[in-house]
């Protein structure tokens, strides 16, 4: 399947949160977002935006690095997973992390590039890149029909690729 993608630039944390909300608004059970990017890229703050879209108080959303998985209830359940501390596949299996992908809620995975093997094909990949202190480039991509549907809807709301979020 052919991949589609879109890139946006945000110039503040608030704008990153806003962009997260535009995505979160559309998400339903079974949707998976994979967040990839450097330390300080804005993965947790982006997830706060996703949470707003899911009608979850963003004040509750904190980095799940320590707990590995945080669960929140809003319009849908949000499973906020963080692979930063995990070392190998055995730990992912031991923690039953694969169970979270069974479609009971929305799943957001930070440091998703550390997932051993393939994430489900409907996953939307979001790469966050630090341009400078405040500017981030966020690239959304996916190849499954559901992922494409969401990315197209995001384009309709937010605009064309490489647009700076005002």
């Amino acid at each position: 399947m052919k991949e589609i993608s879109v890139k946006y630039l945000t110039t503040s944390v608030e704008k990153t949160v806003w962009l997260g909300q535009q995505l979160g608004d559309q998400l339903i059970d079974g949707d998976i977002i994979a967040l990839i990017g450097d330390l300080g890229g804005g993965k947790t703050w982006f997830t706060k935006g996703v949470a707003i879209g899911l009608e979850i108080d963003p004040g509750y959303i904190v980095s799940p690095t320590f707990t590995l998985v945080n669960e929140y209830k809003g319009r849908r359940q949000l499973f906020h997973i963080d692979l930063y501390r995990l070392k190998d596949k055995a730990e992912i299996i031991a923690l039953d992390l694969e169970d979270y992908l069974s479609g009971e809620g929305v799943v957001a995975i930070e440091w998703a590039d550390r997932w051993p093997g393939e994430l489900p094909e409907e996953t939307i990949q979001i790469e966050l890149r630090m341009i400078d202190d405040h500017t981030r480039e966020l690239r959304f991509s996916g190849s499954h029909p559901r992922a494409k549907e969401i990315i197209r809807a995001l384009k309709e709301r937010v605009g064309v690729s490489l647009k700076e979020i005002k």
């Binding site: 330390l39 300080g40 690095t65 669960e71 930063y84 630090m130």
Partner: protein, 339 residues
């Protein structure tokens, strides 16, 4: 009353026995036991299965040390949250079985209440009301503590916990894990004024914390620093560690003092893994002495996760007549004012 306290909220399997919420009879943590086992010093991180393997030997050891047996235990207290669900469940199911088999009361405890009440294991404990700062790899919370069981959350982190920031910066600087001790050690030889990293105080009245901006600033700084690293570069890695550490400590001290001022508290207590940081301890002591506020800090062995603090918290619930039954369940998020 002799209480067995269990904590399996994170990567340590902990059991301890405390008498009357004060007198420590034993305090066992799996990382101590493991060296005597075949694991050869490898601390298995976070896997629930490791808790399953460890829980019985750890509890046995906690009983053996003071020469007690199951029938000497009057009640069992166990952490129900916050923490990793799978890890918490091991402790909870063990506690249910132990309580049922020995026909003694079972009580579920909030891990953060345990951290706060760890101060009552010390010779000197603060009078109520006081302000508590619990700061670790998983939490950075400020509380107004009016009495046992009576807590208000004054502030918390909006993103990363303070200890998490230490771990992530240590990893970025390739210093190893856990980050707190390695950064602290390196910072001793560095200049804290070398780099002026941003301190996020948020709004003036806010008692919340944010460490992700600081983390990002350090990450960007290190990236540039590596690019231009030459013999002429006057900034040493120790300077980065010291400048980062002082920024974290400044933020923590600023908010603790603001909290004490806001609620009019004369006493402040500090607990959690990051409370082992000597720079934080000494700087906070200086500030509190200057402001005429009494500071109480838990001993290092009660700052990290332990079962003793859970036994203390359990004791104060049990004597109020509180009990849990076999429907007791784990809670990944468990704000302390929702007890």
């Amino acid at each position: 009353m002799i209480i067995l306290g269990i904590d399996t909220s994170c990567d340590d399997t902990c059991a301890a026995i405390v008498e009357n919420g004060k007198k420590l009879l034993s305090n066992v943590i799996n990382s101590q036991l493991i060296v005597h086992h075949q694991y050869g010093g490898v601390v298995p991180e976070l896997a629930s299965r490791e808790h399953i393997r460890n829980i019985v030997p750890v509890v046995r050891e906690s009983l053996r040390k003071p020469g007690l047996s199951n029938k000497d235990i009057d009640a069992i207290a166990v952490t129900v949250g916050p923490g990793l669900i799978g890890a918490l469940l091991v402790g909870i199911y063990f506690a249910k079985a132990f309580g049922y088999a020995n026909n003694i009361p079972l009580i579920g405890v909030n891990h953060l209440e345990g951290h706060i009440l760890s101060i009552f294991l010390e010779k000197k404990s603060p009078p109520f009301p006081f302000v508590a700062l619990t700061v670790s790899g998983g939490h950075t919370n400020l509380y107004h503590v009016r009495n046992f069981g009576d807590y208000t959350v004054l502030g918390q982190t909006l993103d990363d916990a303070a200890g998490e920031a230490f771990d992530k910066i240590a990893k970025l600087l390739e210093l190893g894990y856990p980050g707190g001790p390695v950064i602290e050690k390196l910072a001793v030889t560095g200049r804290p004024e070398a780099i002026d990293f941003p301190r996020a105080y948020l709004s003036k009245d806010s008692l919340d914390f944010s460490f992700s901006g600081l983390k990002t600033a350090v990450a960007l700084y290190v990236r540039k620093w590596r690019d231009q690293k030459t013999s002429e570069n006057k900034i040493k890695i120790a300077d980065i560690a010291a400048s980062f550490q002082v920024a974290v400590v400044d933020i923590l001290i600023n908010k603790v003092f603001a909290a004490a001022t806001q609620v009019g508290a004369n006493s402040v207590m500090l607990a959690g893994g990051v409370a082992r940081n000597n720079h934080l301890r000494s700087e906070l002591q200086k500030k509190m002495t200057k402001e005429g506020i009494d500071l109480y800090i838990s001993s290092p062995e009660f700052c990290t996760d332990n079962g003793a603090m859970i036994a203390v918290a359990g004791y104060h619930r049990i004597i109020k007549g509180e009990r849990d039954d076999l429907t007791l369940d784990a809670r990944s998020r468990f704000p302390l004012d929702q007890i």
